[in-house]
């Protein structure tokens, strides 16, 4: 079975699926908290145009979940704000 983790929870995927598609298939519809209002966001345009589905993959923030291909062992985590809070400290 191929799987990555989302906030430490295992997510199964099929080879060739995007991270966003695998999350939606698992019933997860949001993986980002906006930097201003703190509201939740997930996939919107689905084709790489809107950047709403940004997520942190293996520690790198601002990856488009609809464009990144899911890979075994990937650590996907909810992105809060800019994803660069570490730089602001």
């Amino acid at each position: 079975m191929t799987a990555f983790t989302f906030d430490d929870r295992p997510i199964d995927f099929v080879e060739g699926q995007s991270v966003g598609a695998a999350l939606i298939n698992a019933g997860i519809y949001s993986w980002r908290v906006t930097r201003r209002a703190g509201t939740r966001r997930g996939l919107f345009c689905g084709i790489g145009v809107c950047y709403d589905c940004l997520v942190t993959v293996n520690g790198a923030p601002n990856q488009r979940a609809c464009q990144v291909a899911a890979a075994t062992g990937m650590a996907v985590t909810t992105q809060t704000g800019t994803g660069h809070d570490d730089l602001a400290r």
């Binding site: 099929v14 060739g16 519809y29 906006t34 997930g42 919107f44 345009c45 689905g46 145009v49 940004l54």
Partner: protein, 514 residues
């Protein structure tokens, strides 16, 4: 569920350039594939560039063993493309994001970010004698209260999940908005097991009565429409016309929508609001074309009847810039068959232009000779389908009701989280055009660079100020795709004829993604 098809040889190992191409084709969807194949078959050394990992664009998404496989045209074009690649006449560059296209008398300059290795982005710069822009379109949303809730997504997004990843959003989906695209997506979702609660088309089918001549000339399109009607019936999906979603509700994700009926004038009719529990709303009001590369290249644009910016082309698909040709949705949304016809014409004439045979402002195809029969056929097909597309644009305009649904706290710009109240404040502070509203409110200055909210911001500005609708001033982007700052730092800006210092637009440059 299936996995994507194995990559073709052309996609696996793009040959390195031995010579600068005569023709550069940007976009490998139906229009770009046809353009690249025909340019190369005419003898022009051609490069085909696309940001995606495979050929086919948004329309031809294919998976191994997919029963709903792409049509014969796709397979024919890819077969010809592969033999051109093998012969060294065509190079394919996938996962290359073109961020700049400039063209003048001396030639065309194209710059792209090579993202084949996500950890180590590289750079591609090339010069060509002629460029074909086949950059496509994306769903056009309009804002309404709750449209930023997770679970609300575009119709094209639902389609991409299904065709690209084999995932049907759901379980309970409502499909809404306007345009013929709603129907195939609704039936495909239902066929994949989603519970499609209905298709809510804002416009009324009666618009077709005024467009009967154009429709009657397209029996294939009528059969297609009839096929969708059968599909909806088979899956017992109700189709409601003159019906719209006016609000989405939920705490952290979509839980319900409010539906309403429109009157003949396109306004929400009193007493028709009703709430419906749903898990997913797939919504879209036609398409916006990718206009930033045409604008960079200095191509003249116009607004089509459906409120979409489109590149103006002549009978050879040449734009107002003689070195730049355009094909497919970027010249006005009209579907894959039209895109292939336009690509065929564009590729053929771009190859001629690159070889120095560019006719000056031709008015009749017969005046430009000699023209291969296949190109003449493509020109006739294009003209016929273009008339049909114009009829569609007239039948499916974006209704104005959404402007009445907005609340002060409704988000307009999703990226920068700019609300209606903030846009009104910008206008109150003196902004009189969409560009000034953008500068004062930050609407359109985020990651997507106004691709999602540009239409809405322009409409709101026109409504509040009484000025005419201006779609173009906010659509220019001097950098069309995110570039790592490191690549800009390495670039020799002083010598780069590509990255002409464009100080007037510099502030609209896309913010870098790490």
């Amino acid at each position: 569920m299936t996995s994507p098809a194995e990559k073709s040889p052309a996609e696996k190992s793009p040959a390195e350039f031995t010579a600068q191409p005569a023709v550069a084709v940007i976009g490998a969807g139906p229009a770009g594939l046809a353009a690249a194949v025909h340019a190369a078959e005419q003898g022009a050394v051609t490069v085909l560039i696309d940001s995606g990992p495979r050929l086919g664009g948004q329309y031809w998404r294919h998976q191994k063993g997919d029963l709903d496989a792409p049509d014969a045209t796709y397979h024919d074009l890819v077969r010809r493309l592969e033999s051109l690649v093998a012969a060294g006449r065509l190079t394919v560059r996938l996962e290359h994001h073109v961020w700049s296209v400039r063209a003048d008398e001396s030639g065309c300059a194209v710059a792209a970010v090579d993202r084949r290795d996500p950890g180590r982005p590289g750079e591609l710069r090339l010069r060509a004698a002629a460029v074909v822009l086949a950059v496509g379109a994306y769903d056009r949303p309009v804002p309404f209260p709750g449209w930023d809730l997770p679970g609300v997504l575009t119709v094209g997004g639902a389609q991409a999940l299904l065709k690209g990843s084999g995932v049907a959003v759901g379980p309970r989906v409502l499909v809404a908005g306007s345009g013929p695209f709603l129907l195939p997506v609704a039936t495909a979702l239902a066929a994949s097991g989603a519970d499609v609660l209905g298709v809510h088309e804002a416009n009324r089918g009666s618009g077709w009565l005024r467009q009967l001549p154009a429709a009657a000339s397209q029996p294939a399109k009528l059969r297609e429409a009839a096929g969708y009607a059968v599909g909806l019936a088979r899956h017992r999906i109700p189709l409601r016309t003159g019906s719209v979603v006016v609000a989405a509700h939920g705490a952290d994700r979509l839980e319900a929508v409010t539906l309403a009926r429109l009157d003949r004038a396109g306004k929400v009719r009193d007493g028709t609001r009703r709430r419906l529990a749903v898990d997913v709303l797939a919504i879209g009001y036609g398409f916006s074309t990718q206009s930033e590369l045409p604008l960079q290249a200095g191509c003249a644009l116009r607004a089509t009847a459906d409120g979409t910016l489109a590149v103006t082309t002549d009978r050879t698909q040449q734009t107002s810039n003689p070195r730049v040709y355009a094909a497919g949705e970027t010249t006005g949304v009209g579907g894959a068959q039209l895109a292939v016809a336009e690509g065929t014409v564009a590729g053929s004439y771009a190859a001629r232009a690159a070889a120095g045979h560019s006719p000056a402002a031709p008015t009749e195809p017969e005046a430009i000779e000699p023209v291969e029969p296949v190109v003449l056929v493509a020109i006739r097909t294009r003209d016929r389908l273009r008339r049909f597309a114009a009829a569609m644009h007239a039948v499916y305009p974006v209704p104005r009701f959404w402007l009445d649904t907005l609340e002060p706290d409704t988000v307009v710009c999703r990226c920068e989280e700019v609300t209606v109240a903030e846009i009104d404040a910008a206008i109150g502070n003196g902004a009189r055009d969409a560009r000034s509203v953008k500068l004062l409110s930050r609407a359109g200055m985020g990651w997507c660079q106004g691709r999602e909210c540009g239409y809405a911001t322009s409409c709101l500005t026109a409504l509040r100020t009484g000025q005419p609708l201006d779609l173009e001033s906010g659509a220019g982007r001097s950098v069309a795709a995110p570039i790592p700052l490191g690549l800009i730092a390495q670039a020799d800006i002083a010598q780069a004829d590509i990255a002409q210092a464009d100080t007037a637009r510099a502030h609209t440059a896309a913010p870098p993604l790490s």
